[in-house]
């Protein structure tokens, strides 16, 4: 069983500390049970299950540190793992950025686990695929999708008395529906902590409608347009907002190699860099998008403002960089929440005289870290809006734009939705820069 209870996990971690002869020792134990199903061409292509628990032991002698891992937890294995970490530590160079391990900490009570998600069985996944494929087949369309769900736990303990444990669950679903002649494509994506909020049919229906509605797209000239960016156009593993948040490191800014570096030295914390309606924070207890209450070093994660009314309120300080600069360290946050209003995407369309609705941005790469300029393309449902209505589908565009510029060109902010473990509103943005057309569907 890959999900250990708090007592089971801490019992193993306690043993590690007993076996330790180092100056400092910290052990992390993580486990997961994950299942997935993948389909394409209206057929299930693969399905998988994996179970794993693994242990990381870090031993320290003075400023020398060594790490070893193991995935079996009998006394002999644990003892060998600790010994190996200690041997590696003795041979390691001194770390000039050494920070002592943290002592006992107070954590919030996490809300990141749903028993319903942990109970998902293979037949449930098969049904999701069947439901999704069924909707596409019924409309003579072709579906390709992927569902992955899992239960996770993380536990840690160190020789300074720190003790932490948390369980979580998650489910990620995405589906691409295409017309058989390849002239239309639609997409939907969502993720949840609690599977009871997940509806594969409703999501697939969105992709079906977008695929059917995006046939025979017309070409518009590239240029600057008012756009409505749906959450999937803002957040993904490579999303514009993820990249913006990733760039909030104090050290890079202080070193002069970030858009948050200040001319002449230092960083731009405290400056107003975005539209006054922009507020972004992290909160592990957000009910819709909960995350971890402690980070990898054991620092307590609490609500933290990154941007408030357009002003940069905090940058990320590692423990080392915080100490060097005489400030408090920043805990690793597992989510970000962008505040929004009450308008739906439909409402945003209604209030748009001329503009483009973007379902999704894809293959996003940084072009210039100095200005946080990114390039990428629209995909799976791009539509022209006129007088408050979707007029017709348009061919996909390549964009070159910076989230810093985007968040200064805000026309309207919609109702936040969960995506990628975050909460993000759809945004209406003026003067978004499309630089060329793509024939891709």
């Amino acid at each position: 069983m890959a999900i250990l209870s708090k007592d089971e996990a801490q019992a193993i971690l306690k043993k590690v500390l007993i076996f330790s002869t180092a100056d400092e020792c910290q052990a992390n134990l993580n486990g997961r049970t994950v299942g997935n199903i993948r389909y394409a061409r209206n057929n299930v292509s693969t399905a998988g299950l994996s179970d794993n628990i693994s242990m990381v032991v870090e031993s320290r002698f003075g400023k020398r540190s060594g790490v070893a891992t193991c995935n079996q937890f009998d006394d002999a294995t644990l003892r060998r793992c600790v010994q190996r970490a200690e041997e590696i530590a003795r041979l390691a160079p001194e770390d000039p950025e050494y920070m002592p391990l943290l002592g006992p900490q107070q954590y919030l009570t996490p809300v990141s686990y749903a028993a319903s998600t942990a109970a998902i069985k293979p037949d449930y996944r098969a049904q999701v695929a069947a439901d999704s494929i069924g909707l596409a087949v019924g409309k003579q369309l072709t579906a390709a999708g992927y569902l992955e769900d899992g239960a996770y736990f993380q536990a840690m303990r160190n020789s300074k008395g720190l003790e932490a444990y948390q369980q979580s669950t998650g489910l990620d679903f995405s589906v691409t529906v295409r017309t058989p002649d390849g002239t239309g494509s639609g997409y939907a994506v969502a993720d949840f902590t609690d599977v009871s909020k997940f509806n594969a049919k409703a999501l697939t229906q969105i992709a079906v409608d977008k695929a059917a509605g995006s046939r025979n797209a017309k070409a518009l000239e590239p240029g600057k347009y008012t756009v409505i960016l749906e959450p999937a156009a803002l957040v993904s593993d490579e999303g514009l907002l993820n990249n913006l948040i990733y760039s909030f490191g104090a050290r890079e800014a202080d070193e002069g190699r970030s858009f948050l570096s200040k001319k002449g030295g230092g960083n731009r914390k405290g400056e107003k860099l975005f539209d006054s309606r922009i507020s972004i924070y992290s909160d592990p207890l957000n009910a819709q998008a909960p995350s971890s209450v402690f980070d990898g070093e054991g620092l307590p994660v609490k609500r933290m403002n990154w941007v408030e009314k357009g002003v940069v309120k905090n940058l990320y300080y590692s423990r080392y960089w915080a100490q060097k600069n005489g400030v408090e360290p920043t805990a690793f946050s597992g989510n970000f929440i962008m505040e929004g209003g009450t308008q739906s995407v439909q409402d945003l369309i209604k209030s748009t005289e001329k503009g483009i609705l973007v379902t999704r941005l894809w293959y996003i790469r940084d072009v210039d870290p100095q200005t946080l300029l990114f390039t990428g393309l629209t995909r799976d449902g791009t539509f022209y809006i006129e007088n408050g209505k979707i007029k017709h589908p348009v061919k996909n565009f390549r964009f070159n734009e910076s989230p810093v510029i985007m968040l200064n060109n805000i026309e309207a902010i919609g109702r936040p939705q969960r995506l990628g473990g975050n909460l993000v509103p759809p945004l209406k943005i003026r003067d978004f820069t499309f630089t060329s057309l793509s024939d891709a569907v």
């Binding site: 399905a47 193991c70 390849g182 002069g256 200005t371 390039t375 060329s436």
Partner: protein, 584 residues
């Protein structure tokens, strides 16, 4: 897929690293982050570098070990007994075909910045995967219990899965016939196993490269060395028992120069390439150096790399970038160095010709392709007559080079594009029949014993020109152009039409001569227009390999390593944009 457990930093630092990695190294057609943010939560905040490991082939799922373990091997006779146990169990359970891969994946990475070592990690991952066909349907199961009993159990599970999946299967698997090879072996022809080189020697080389960069005016420098050894044993019911020992290495760095007064910063990355070589890649040989265009100081590297020389030049070029002229947008003739062009080949030729993409299996993730079989039948030129593109898994020093692929097919070379016309795709055994062929191309690969093998890109290379021509000869004929070396920002749509590429260094070409460094350059083109504007390549003496460790595909995502060879090549009248912007 369970990522490399345990070594991690907080997410912003991680993100910074990923952003840098993003910037510095090619992560292809879909970002390869098998890690979700939740994977990082709760992990120990230790060495920054090691969190890159899960993104590397052979680095996933490994446990940390003593470096001495990296020199151990397993006796093929022992592996054969275990493989037979699995094959017999599969057949008894009703499989009509079975293959076993017993894999020991070893890796070591070293990370430094300026004068300090950030991390050294050695990892090992050992296990076996069994793939079967039962009721005409694939089934797969993997185990880390590498014993006869463990493998037999995995084989039975794989058959159970195949039988369960066959209930929803519409078409039966059709496998191209493959003869058994009996007991054979293959080894990357390395001269010096990187794992035999003392860690101290490797660290000293990286720190010496950092010192070169700092002495030449760099403000910051990060350097790293990745080393991989895949010890793979393959056996199948066709009668093959194939023992392979595959080695790869990648030294790289990123140098940053800063102008505090203006707040400007620029980076210049290494012009090395990941290679299918041993540590000999880091012993520079004069015969492997090709002078770049006159006036640039650039050196092209073939089968060995001079990291000290490149680090010194990188610092000078990073500084020059701070004051280089910003490009005027417009049409330019581009002269593209092999260490740049390789990525363009990868994205605009390698990916569109993967048969699984063409068929729609990757529609929800990596995308599909413009180069469908219907498109091929129309005989539309993919490129000009100079465009001859070949696939192979044979080239010495390439990342794709192996004796046999991961389903026991002997590797070969074949044409993809001949005189500008598309002639073939990349295939595995179960795909050959779809295009009316009788054999696989040997394109099957899995990034771990625990993942199922599927179609992956072989080396895809542009043949050099037949006429004698050096890069200076080529530049002489260019009136208004830009020379680009090294990889930069790159992005292409999901059907491989529209792309935008940057580079590492850019030089203006005016009236046949190099005329100083440029900045803010990116070119945008359509795949077919671009390859049809190809005006020829330098000759064989200029031919070099570009490589990537990070080609991502599949859900859950797998990575693979691939090389792309070419000589310096000219493309006429390509659209260049200026990427400079102002933010408040």
């Amino acid at each position: 897929m369970q990522p490399f457990n345990g070594i991690c930093v907080d997410w912003l630092q991680l993100a910074g690293l990923l952003a840098k990695l993003h910037h510095a190294f090619p992560l292809h057609h879909q970002t390869v982050y098998p890690l979700k943010r939740r994977d990082f939560v709760g992990l120990t905040g230790l060495a920054t570098g090691a969190l890159w490991l899960p993104s590397l082939p052979g680095f996933g799922e490994s446990i940390l070990v003593d470096p001495a373990r990296l020199l151990e091997t397993v006796d093929p006779a022992v592996k054969k007994r275990m493989a037979d146990a699995a094959l017999n169990a599969a057949k008894s359970a009703g499989a009509t075909y079975a293959d076993v891969r017993i894999g020991r994946y070893l890796n070591q990475s070293i990370f430094t910045r300026e004068k300090q070592v950030q991390n050294i990690a050695s990892g090992e991952s050992y296990g076996a995967g069994v793939r079967v066909i039962a009721n005409g349907t694939w089934g797969f199961a993997a185990t880390n219990i590498v014993t006869e009993a463990g493998l037999a159990k995995a084989a039975q599970l794989a058959v159970e899965i195949a039988k369960a999946n066959s209930k929803v299967q519409k078409e039966k698997v059709q496998l191209a016939p493959q003869k058994g090879y009996g007991d054979v072996s293959w080894k990357t022809p390395i001269q010096r196993n990187a794992f035999e080189v003392p860690v101290k020697e490797k660290v000293e080389l990286l720190l010496a490269a950092n010192a070169k960069a700092l002495d030449n005016g760099a403000n910051f420098v990060n350097s790293s060395l990745f080393q991989i050894n895949e010890q793979k044993y393959f056996a199948s019911t066709d009668g093959s028992y194939i023992d392979q020992d595959v080695h790869r290495i990648w030294p790289t760095f990123s140098v940053t120069a800063i102008d505090r007064t203006s707040g400007k910063f620029r980076s210049r990355d290494a012009l090395s390439s990941p290679m299918g070589l041993g540590y000999e890649y880091l012993t520079p040989k004069a015969a492997d150096k090709i002078a770049g265009p006159q006036g640039t100081g650039l050196i092209g590297y073939k089968q060995s790399y001079d990291i000290l020389e490149d680090a010194a030049l990188a610092a000078q070029q990073a500084k020059a970038k701070l004051t280089a002229k910003s490009v005027t947008a417009g049409k330019y003739d581009l002269v593209l160095d092999p260490n740049h062009l390789g990525l363009t080949i990868h994205e605009s030729v390698g990916h569109p010709l993967e048969l699984d993409r063409v068929l729609g299996y990757e529609a929800n993730y990596a995308g599909t392709s413009f180069a469908t079989m219907e498109w091929k039948a129309k005989n539309i030129p993919y490129g000009s007559k100079y465009v001859n593109i070949v696939a192979d898994k044979l080239q010495t020093g390439s990342l794709g080079a192996v004796g046999y692929d991961d389903e026991g097919v002997k590797t070969k070379e074949w044409d993809l594009i001949k005189d500008g016309k598309l002639v073939d795709y990349q295939k595995t055994r179960d795909q050959a029949h779809i295009v009316g062929q009788k054999e696989s191309d040997g394109c099957s690969y899995a990034d771990s014993w625990s993942t199922v093998q599927f179609q992956r890109m072989p080396n895809v290379s542009l043949r050099p020109g037949k006429e004698k021509m050096s890069v200076d000869d080529m530049i002489k004929g260019v009136d208004k152009g830009i020379y680009i070396a090294g990889r930069g920002s790159f992005s292409i749509d999901q059907q491989r039409y529209n792309f935008q590429f940057g580079g590492t260094v850019f030089y203006a070409i005016e009236k046949g001569k190099i005329a100083g460094q440029l900045e803010d350059v990116a070119y945008q083109a359509n795949t077919q227009e671009f390859w049809n504007s190809c005006a020829g390549s330098c000759d064989q003496s200029d031919y070099r390999l570009f490589g990537s460790f990070f080609d991502g595909k599949g859900q859950p995502s797998q990575v693979s390593a691939v090389s792309h060879g070419s000589a310096t090549t000219r493309f006429n009248a390509v659209n260049v944009i200026n990427t400079a912007r102002k933010i408040s």
